[in-house]
């Protein structure tokens, strides 16, 4: 008995060390980003890293924002990410419900067709999707940016998996009571799917917030540029200090972080089922 407790303790300490070391390595670049965003420009080119700036240069934030139309870029990113998030919330919930609680001829083929779109990401369909948006005359518009991102098979799959666990008896009982299909979805199904919905919300927001290659192709004017496009060009313009670029990178992290923070509790449950996403 004593021996078992001893091995247990030594195992615990053996594991703690690499875990702490790895967590340290994981967190370090993030700390570096935040610290650099407050650093003075010249300090960047020194050979040692000053982790806590001797002087906090808060002005990096307003200065960085004013180098280009960043407030506008962030607004554009917000509009697009919100549209994509709402689109996913509506259509993935509907499709997930349809695929999990209804049986009809061809339902398995439909599920397969939907899952198969995971092999058709934007990187693969870039050229023809651009040609479609161009035909629609949607280049340099909000709808041109968010339309192709509105539904993601990942969200449908997540919702379907979650809804499969809800007993069908509830639905039958509600139907006998004369509830309509939409009402059943709204009153019975959705309240039980909160973890899955929270997971989908944060992933769809983060993915469109991160979206780069697609806006790069369809947007060519500042009016509709998203923040990643502005942030990349920021470094290319001569004389823009990297400290200010880091300041904008910190600002760009905050919205996703806040959503994550708010939805954290629901995420813990939804997360274990969401292994499809990275």
């Amino acid at each position: 008995m004593g021996k078992r407790i001893a091995t247990f303790w030594s195992l615990e300490w053996l594991g703690l060390l690499p875990l702490a070391a790895f967590t340290f390595l994981i967190v370090l670049p993030i700390v570096w980003m935040i610290s650099t965003s407050f650093q003075s420009g010249e300090k960047m080119y020194q050979l040692t890293t000053e982790w806590i700036p001797s002087v906090f240069h808060w002005e990096n934030y307003p200065n960085g924002l004013s180098r280009a139309a960043f407030p506008r870029f962030f607004l554009n990113s917000f509009i697009i990410s919100a549209a994509v998030m709402i689109g996913n919330l509506i259509f993935c919930t509907l499709a997930g419900y349809g695929l999990s609680k209804y049986r009809f001829r061809g339902d398995k083929i439909l599920l397969l067709l939907i899952l198969s779109t995971l092999m058709l990401p934007m990187e693969v369909t870039l050229v023809p999707t651009f040609l479609i948006i161009r035909k629609l005359n949607w280049l340099n518009t909000y709808q041109g940016i968010f339309a192709p991102l509105l539904i993601d098979a990942f969200g449908i799959f997540l919702m379907r998996q979650f809804m499969l666990r809800i007993p069908t008896d509830y639905i039958e009982a509600a139907r006998i009571d004369g509830a309509g299909e939409f009402k059943i979805l709204w009153k019975i199904i959705i309240p039980q799917c909160k973890p899955a919905i929270a997971t989908m919300a944060i992933f769809s927001f983060r993915d469109s917030w991160d979206q780069f290659i697609w806006p790069l192709v369809v947007v060519s004017v500042d009016e509709y540029r998203t923040y990643p496009l502005g942030l990349v060009r920021f470094g290319e313009d001569y004389g823009n200090p990297p400290t200010e670029q880091m300041a904008i990178a910190v600002l760009a992290t905050i919205p996703v972080f806040l959503i994550f923070w708010i939805l954290q509790r629901s995420l813990r449950t939804g997360f274990t089922m969401s292994g499809l996403k990275g």
Binding site: G15, P18, P29, G98, F104, M119, L126, P128, F212, V217
Partner: protein
């Protein structure tokens, strides 16, 4: 009588319609998604396949040129290099993500104190915008950057991570692992928690060593999760664009140019849409292999 008969007929008709009316609702719920995927996924893919047999520069009409695009790209050393880079990147990143993710999950699963703290701090890598990740790491890998500062006690000298053609792709794989391993750690952890405790208790009584405990019990029990993580991270890495685009710009000498970057350059810098479509089809075929594996995995682990 007639009235009753009619009422009876309409009732039975209504009852017959009841089931199919419910089915109709199911189809109705899925319909917008199907239409969307037709327009923005399957339609474009078919169009890409068509375009891959043509020469098209946006200005003039597409001209049918048969298999020429495919013949040309497979003669093109730049394409072959990008294909090679993509495959190496997929393999390297997938191995790194799987090994690190599983390792971390195993440690956390021993019930270490403060594991929740470790988990949530690690999770920060996953919510940071990927562009911010790339910009930060570009600075960290700078010859005078943090990575070399950390390695300096080892006496390796100043390593040119991003301008050395042998180190640039491994550097990007390191960033990939940094970003994704903590996420897949959570997936592994869910799998580990599902292994019945009784099995371990029985093994403890039999005095099984920790190593054979891992190889004989844990690994076989979670092998479906391992397979799943491998396939999903391979899919994720096959489409990588932003990391090489920002961190190295595809350099040095194309050592980190991947297929998605080549599609972008060919199609939108050189306006060779037909040729870019042909490269897209190749990337699609790579992704299809992993997707088929993934779907087979789903249909094996659960009944549709």
């Amino acid at each position: 009588m007639l009235r009753i008969g009619r009422a009876q007929i309409s009732v039975s008709r209504w009852q017959l319609g009841y089931e199919s009316r419910i089915q109709l609702w199911g189809i109705l719920f899925i319909l917008p998604t199907i239409l969307f995927f037709m327009i923005f996924k399957y339609g474009p893919m078919l169009w890409a396949i068509y375009l891959s047999f043509t020469g098209y520069d946006i200005v003039t009409e597409p001209k049918f040129i048969g298999l020429n695009n495919y013949i040309n790209i497979f003669k093109d050393p730049i394409f072959l290099q990008a294909l090679n880079n993509t495959l190496i990147y997929i393999m390297g990143s997938t191995i790194a993500i799987t090994v690190l993710g599983l390792g971390l999950a195993l440690i956390i699963n021993t019930g270490i104190k403060a594991s929740r703290f470790f988990m949530s701090s690690m999770f920060l890598t996953n919510i940071m915008p990927i562009l911010a990740v790339c910009l930060v790491w570009r600075f960290l890998f700078h010859p005078y950057g943090l990575v070399n500062q950390f390695l300096s006690p080892l006496g390796l000298g100043r390593i040119d991570w991003l301008t050395n053609s042998y180190l640039a792709l491994p550097a990007i794989i390191i960033v990939t692992a940094w970003r994704f391993a903590p996420y897949f750690m959570v997936v592994f952890l869910a799998g580990l928690l599902a292994v019945p405790k009784e099995i371990y208790e029985a093994a403890d009584i039999d005095g099984v060593t920790p190593i054979s405990r891992f190889l004989r019990i844990t690994l076989p029990m979670i092998s479906p999760i391992v397979f799943f993580v491998v396939v999903v991270s391979a899919l994720l890495c096959a489409r990588i664009f932003l990391m090489p685009f920002i961190i190295t710009g595809g350099g040095p000498g194309g050592a980190t140019r991947v297929l998605s970057m080549l599609i972008y350059e060919t199609g939108f810098s050189y306006l060779k849409m037909g040729r870019a479509a042909a490269i897209s089809v190749i990337l699609f075929l790579i992704m299809m292999v992993f997707t088929i594996l993934q779907i087979r995995f789903f249909s094996k682990t659960e009944e549709y």
